[in-house]
């Protein structure tokens, strides 16, 4: 069942505002098992219903976990309260926390990372699209479900919309996905690309990985070092921002060229030297992966159901 999620995932949603409600409806429609909501003073009362689905809503994470054995949490709480929500999940020992929220202060994330160290929790995000696993109908995020298709390629990206872009190309090229993880665009996040690559590397359901990075920081160099050292599956990589001007922050808090190491060229060179196949154009991620899979004898045409 690939990485992070599986058919035993019991999802809890924290932050049932309008957007949280819209998104959890789409996850329910996708077939994701949602067992609890957490929203102090929730206007809808003590439960949330959509179509023929329903789950109880609690004022605290601790109570939700106790009552429902939720083991994965998705956070839509607005930025000023997002770090507090993550800390609440860490305190409740939720194994997997996914935080979608954009605009979390970096000093808050310093506190979160300190709390994560030595805890029982893993964090994906913040400022990310979340995780989706087509084969288990598990959508823990904000993805447009239609472009995804079950298959054997993993996707890890800092950018959310580039996950969709890459997956759309993969699906059009007849390549399905095992799990797609958006790690988030902020300077401080939970698991970074390298950690996700490690998970894919030991995942029997993943035969190859698309890695999408961007300018700024050193995360792609760390990923390259891991690929060189340990990766035994092909990696196709694209780095966004090759044409971005230096010194300007490109939307993502992480996306600013602060020195030589932060440039797309430096990252591409590191990944290429580590053996990753580079897609120079973001429009060629799908076709590049198709070629790589065929060369490796791992291309699986879409199933008989198609």
């Amino acid at each position: 069942m690939s990485i992070l999620l599986n058919n035993r995932t019991r999802l809890m949603i924290q932050g049932l505002g309008n957007e949280g409600q819209n998104q959890i409806r789409r996850s329910l429609d996708y077939g994701t098992r949602v067992v609890a909501g957490v929203h102090p003073g929730f206007r809808g009362g003590d439960s949330f219903s959509h179509a023929n689905h329903s789950f109880p809503v609690f004022p605290t994470v601790a109570e939700a976990v106790e009552q429902t054995q939720a083991n994965c949490s998705i956070i839509y709480v607005p930025a000023p309260g997002a770090a507090d929500a993550i800390l609440e999940n860490i305190a409740a020992e939720i194994p997997l926390i996914v935080c979608i929220t954009e605009g979390v202060p970096v000093h808050d994330m310093i506190r979160v990372r300190t709390a994560l160290a030595g805890s029982k929790s893993r964090l994906i995000g913040p400022n990310c699209p979340g995780i989706i696993q087509p084969a288990s109908n598990c959508r823990v995020g904000i993805h447009p479900p239609d472009v995804f298709m079950p298959g054997n390629v993993g996707v890890v990206s800092r950018s959310g919309t580039l996950v969709y872009e890459a997956v759309d190309q993969l699906t059009r090229a007849g390549i399905g996905q095992s799990t797609c993880v958006g790690v988030g665009g902020d300077p401080i996040i939970g698991e970074q690309q390298q950690a996700i690559l490690r998970r894919f590397n030991s995942d029997p359901d993943t035969d190859a990985v698309v890695l999408i990075g961007e300018i700024g920081g050193l995360a792609e160099q760390a990923a390259a070092a891991y690929i060189k050292r340990s990766m035994n599956k092909p990696v196709v990589a694209f780095i966004a921002g090759a044409t971005a001007p230096a010194g300007r922050r490109m939307g993502h808090a992480g996306a600013i060229i602060e020195g030589e190491a932060g440039t797309a060229e430096a990252k591409i060179a590191a990944l290429e030297a580590a053996g990753a196949v580079i897609s120079r154009s973001p429009a060629e991620i799908g076709s590049t992966m198709r070629r790589v899979l065929e060369e490796a004898g791992k291309y699986q045409p879409p199933g008989a159901a198609e």
């Binding site: 969709y164 665009g185 939307g251």
Partner: protein, 429 residues
Amino acid sequence: MNIHEYQAKQLFKARGVPVPDGGAATTEREARELLKEHGPDVVIKAQVHAGGRGKGRVVKRDRASRTYNDLRRDPERHEGQIVGRRRGGVRLASGVEEALKEFRPLMDKDSRLVSVQTGADGVTISAVLIEKQTSIVREYYFSIQVDGANGQPLIVASAEGGQSIEEVNRTNPGAVLRVPVDPVEGFPAFRGRSLANQLGLPSSAIRQAGDMFANLYRVFSEMDASLVEVNPFVLTSEGAVMAIDGKVGLDDNASFRHGGYEAWRDRSQENPTEIEAEEANIGSYIKLDGNIGCVVNGAGLAMATMDTLKLHGGEPANFLDIGTVNRKDRVVEALRIIVNDPDVKTIFINIFGGLARVDIVAEGVVDAVNELNIQQPLVVRLNGSNVEEGRRVLHDSGIAVETADELGDAAALAVEAANSGRRRSRSNN
């Protein structure tokens, strides 16, 4: 968000970090007061957000572009001449009259400071910092930034200050100290004293330097800063330490805790179109040099869109991440800003809906075409959430747009339209 040096020094001073006596002036009267109080020997520093001030030049507006091109060709051209020839953004002077002679051209409304980082128009000078000169024995470097990989603050320090730390790191990496900060402990004075000792400061200055470092860490944490940099702090001939420069970057995401950072913000240092974009709340906008106006959702896709245009031989006129669009009037506002940019010859809309809904974007595009007098060709690529409805909205409206389903095809269309220099046709037929 960046703030001015004089503001950084106010933050320093309020927390016990020693800075030279002085203050900021915008008028000759204020300058005269400061000169009387802190003269006769003073440093005069133009206050701008752009970097490269020391190696830049202060010129009349109509010479800005020529100076910029000169500097771009040879960034070191004016190094070492600045102070002596009184042309740059940092000047020395003795006595009130001489100092005012230096002050006046800086605050002249026709003056622009041009450096390799300002762009061809240069920037206006917001204020002039006038400070007592310091007698310097040695220059050091100190900064606190966020180390994303480790999720901790990182202190970088060097006994080779007063120059580019990147350059020191390249030529003499052993001279650059890196001290990770345990965020629970913070950076207490004893850690500061240990760092001061490692930097080779004399024993008599170690207590004061340790306090200075600890207090700079307070600035970092109390202000929600993303960067605190002092290059250089110095050892004076009296044996004291002092921060003679100061740079502070504030985390925009934390502005809700600090009244929007309004007291520290200087809009005159920002690009007017970027301010307009911010006030219209259309997302993250950055003006660039090309002629293809871009409207994209998501920072990563917006960068990738720019990259794709370049690969097809095009040049983006802007970066724009409109974020999650769930209101069509935001699309109209975004297009209003793009359309009014005189550099824009073609508009490229690339939306991959996740949280954002593509049909709402399409309705916004139709409204914009009807409300705004759009002369430029419009290339639209839609995908993701509610894409079928979105494409139908565009089709049924009958507005003249060129569309493509895939990113590469759409980018090629946009580049072709921009290079052909044609105008938008009036209808689909």
